[in-house]
């Protein structure tokens, strides 16, 4: 990994990379104030539409806007073909893995993944044992976090198989770009992302339980308006024509799920739930949950409703399991992994731990169950005190952390206070798995707006960009 990060717009000699040629011309043609005005327009557009998110830990009800950068990130058709092949391989293997560990557990018997790592893991859901989800699919909606370090170097940073969020930003960012820079779309052939809600609908319909007459009834189950991703829940429900329900809107009777409508109960067949496993059903999981639907899991178990995604999928995106994904791909598909994993140090191994503790300054430490950039140490950007704190943490609970080298994330031109400057980006493409695996060409590009920063999470000062996949 080189010291100067790979820039997606420029070659090392300063010339423009092919996909960005037209954009570069367009940028040059813009009058000095134009980008600033466009940026302001985009912001007021998003605010009016109510595209906000709540920041954990800040005052309740505080709504923030994720900054939107008006310079798109562009991926060539060739690059995308390679990426999407690798992603498809990964999600097929991970779904096969989920099926296996909730059935015969062959991969554990074969010793390819340590038994304890799975069976003693809090993300493993024993209640799912032996359950046969429709089409054998556990994780229907997946977001794969990918970073790029060179022209041909893509790494998977993380798989999100529980309830990946952000897809509404992918869709709204495209809407914004279409409004702000329509002329660019005339010059570029950008693959559409607008098909996502319809594809999601088809995916959900394809996993409806058997024995339904007519079109299955689909709903989105949200924790409610105070959830940080509420906008996305309502947006998706609206876009695919599904009812947006809270737990109180649903009930279970005679082993089936119904919603309470103005004209009485109406049967529900497929639930895209955006409520965490623990809160899904107080009868089976946390009894104090006010968000869930009592009896929902039993109705699922009895085969009367489909949950999208299935409970217990978190075991497949557990950070400790991540290390084994290449192994998992080989075991189920008999293929080598097409996308690379980031090399990861195992702190329970004494030699590796010693290395880690020596080199904290260069490494990234992640809590196994942490998310959203919390509980994380980015070595090069850390203070001595922070490193000392993590040294103690690692020594106390070595199994609770994974450690990776600091990747030189690629940069993209980004509109900042002083004009256009390179900023680090990652990419989260969205995958839908039902009767087929469908990857939306594009995804959410997150950008670290602070100069030099590698943390792209919106909760930590990250922004987003529209992501263009070019068609041939």
């Amino acid at each position: 990994m080189s010291a100067t990060p790979f820039d997606e717009m420029h070659n090392a000699d300063g010339s423009i990379r092919d996909p960005y040629l037209i954009l570069e011309e367009w940028l040059k043609d813009q009058p000095p104030q134009a980008l600033g005005l466009m940026s302001a327009d985009a912001e007021s557009l998003f605010r009016r539409l109510g595209i906000t998110f709540a920041v954990y830990g800040s005052n309740e009800g505080t709504e923030k806007l994720i900054p939107f950068d008006i310079i798109p990130r562009i991926i060539s058709a060739l690059e995308w073909r390679r990426l999407s092949k690798g992603i498809e391989q990964r999600v097929r293997a991970l779904n096969a893995f989920l099926y296996d560990i909730y059935h015969r557990q062959e991969i554990l018997k074969a010793g390819r993944v340590p038994e304890k790592l799975i069976l003693n893991n809090s993300a493993f859901c024993p209640e799912m044992m032996g359950l046969d989800p429709a089409r054998g699919v556990y994780s229907h909606i997946i977001g794969v976090d990918i970073v790029r370090t060179g022209p041909d170097d893509f790494y998977v940073l993380e798989d999100n198989l529980r309830t990946p969020s952000g897809v509404s930003y992918m869709l709204e960012n495209r809407e914004a770009m279409l409004q702000l820079a329509p002329e660019l779309f005339q010059r570029y052939k950008v693959a559409p992302v607008e098909t996502y809600p319809e594809t999601l609908r088809r995916t959900m319909e394809s996993v409806a339980p058997g024995g339904i007459h007519g079109a299955p009834n689909l709903v989105v189950l949200t924790p409610g308006i105070y959830n940080s991703a509420y906008f996305e829940h309502s947006f998706l429900a609206d876009q695919m024509g599904a009812m947006l329900c809270e737990g109180q809107d649903l009930f279970v009777e005679g082993g089936k799920v119904f919603m309470r409508t103005t004209t009485g109960p109406e049967r529900v067949d497929v639930i895209y739930r955006r409520i965490d496993d623990d809160f899904l059903d107080p009868l089976t999981f946390r009894p104090d949950s006010m968000l869930g639907v009592p009896g929902l899991f039993d109705a699922y178990r009895a085969g009367n409703v489909t949950l999208v995604n299935a409970p217990g999928t978190g075991i497949a995106d557990d950070k400790a399991v991540y290390v084994y994904v290449p192994e998992i791909i080989e075991f189920y598909l008999g293929e080598k992994a097409l996308l690379k994993n980031v090399p990861t140090y195992n702190c329970t191994n004494a030699d590796e731990r010693a290395y880690v503790l020596e080199h904290l300054e260069e490494l990234v430490v992640k809590e196994v169950h942490g998310s959203g950039g919390y509980g994380m140490l980015v070595g090069p950007a850390s203070t001595k005190a922070q490193r000392e704190e993590f040294r103690k943490k690692i020594l106390a609970r070595p199994d609770n952390y994974i450690v990776q080298p600091t990747l030189a994330l690629s940069t993209c031109p980004t509109f900042v206070d002083r004009g256009i400057a390179p900023r680090h980006v990652d990419l989260r493409p969205y995958v839908l798995v039902g009767d087929d695996v469908r990857i939306t060409p594009g995804g959410l590009t997150r950008v670290a707006l602070k100069k030099g920063s590698l943390v792209v999470n919106s909760s930590q000062g990250g922004g987003t960009k529209d992501t263009w996949v070019l068609e041939d």
Partner: protein
């Protein structure tokens, strides 16, 4: 439609209507306090207006002195006052967020923009002309929302629940304004109103935005009998009880057409309609204006309960 969605739409409209009514009530008290020449008169007008708006008790618990600033604080900006404009707009937006997908973009944007704008106002910047401007703006918010609703909303059950919320709230508001001041409308020995009466009558009419249209309808000076007639029975007056009940009635029949069934809500609406049907001001005065209004308010409240029961609000 989810029962909760129907409930949210109903209350969303109620809160928007209530925000408007609060602004109008405050405006009345404010204007009267400005024109008062007597010592302590300004404060009396404000207090009297707060009684009509039924926020006087909450105010007394919190403030010692009723002046324009304290009353504006309480009625417009105070989140602890559940009827303040701020509380109403926030409740409206919260309901709107819950039913985001059931609203048109225009309806959502009118509410969302209103809340964002309102939340950015610093109360201490609001005085004098700014205050008048703000009151005007609040009324505009309500008009914009209703405009968006009327011109963009599908005429389905969601529309019906929205309209029901609007007119149940408005009927309640008009009835309460009348009830708080009913004694100044009662026929007395002298049929000519004194100075105090005229002031109170003006207040009632202004609170219902009826002081100008009154002239168009009656071509007469303010008279108690006319005012009661105007606000209770006149079908063309958009804030009269008769007008509201007519809308409520038509709207529940729309629901009957859509759903194909009559419910307890229809009985509750019939009960309110009966109070007005074929009634006259003379008979109402004979029956007792206060008694009549009390009965009306109770019957009107029962509509909300019956809707909740019949259409699975929860």
């Amino acid at each position: 439609m989810l029962g909760r969605t129907a409930q949210n739409l109903f209350w969303l409209s109620r809160y928007i209507e209530r925000a408007e009514n609060m602004a109008r009530m405050f405006e009345v008290g404010y204007r009267m306090s400005l024109t008062s020449r007597r010592e302590g008169g300004a404060s009396e007008h404000l207090i009297s207006m707060m009684q009509a708006a039924e926020v006087d008790e909450g105010f007394d618990a919190k403030y010692k002195l009723a002046d324009v600033k304290s009353v504006a604080d309480y009625m417009i900006f105070d989140e602890a006052n559940p009827s303040s404009v701020k509380s109403c707009l926030l409740a409206a937006r919260t309901n709107a967020r819950s039913v985001r997908t059931a609203l048109t973009t225009e309806m959502w944007e009118s509410i969302n923009a209103a809340w964002l704008e309102f939340a950015a106002i610093r109360p201490r910047d609001i005085s004098g002309a700014k205050l008048q401007e703000l009151l005007f703006w609040i009324k505009q918010v309500s008009h914009r929302y209703r405009g968006a609703l009327l011109s963009t909303f599908l005429r389905d059950d969601g529309y019906a629940f929205s309209q029901l919320g609007n007119f149940v709230e408005r009927a309640d508001n008009t009835a309460r304004i009348l009830d708080m001041k009913y004694y100044v409308l009662l026929p007395r020995a002298t049929m000519v109103g004194g100075e105090v009466d005229i002031a109170q009558w003006t207040m009632i009419l202004r609170a219902a935005s009826a002081h100008r249209s009154y002239r168009h309808v009656y071509h007469d000076r303010y008279k108690a009998w006319n005012i009661a007639d105007y606000l209770i029975l006149r079908p063309e007056m958009p804030r009269s009880l008769a007008f509201c009940v007519d809308w409520i009635n038509r709207t529940v029949h729309m629901l009957e057409d859509i759903y194909g069934t009559r419910t307890g809500a229809h009985d509750a609406v019939d009960a309110v309609a009966e109070l007005l049907e074929g009634n006259s001001v003379d008979r109402i005065f004979e029956y007792g204006l206060h008694e009549f209004l009390t009965e009306f308010i109770n019957c009107n409240n029962r509509i909300t309960d019956a809707l909740a029961e019949s259409y699975n609000f929860y």
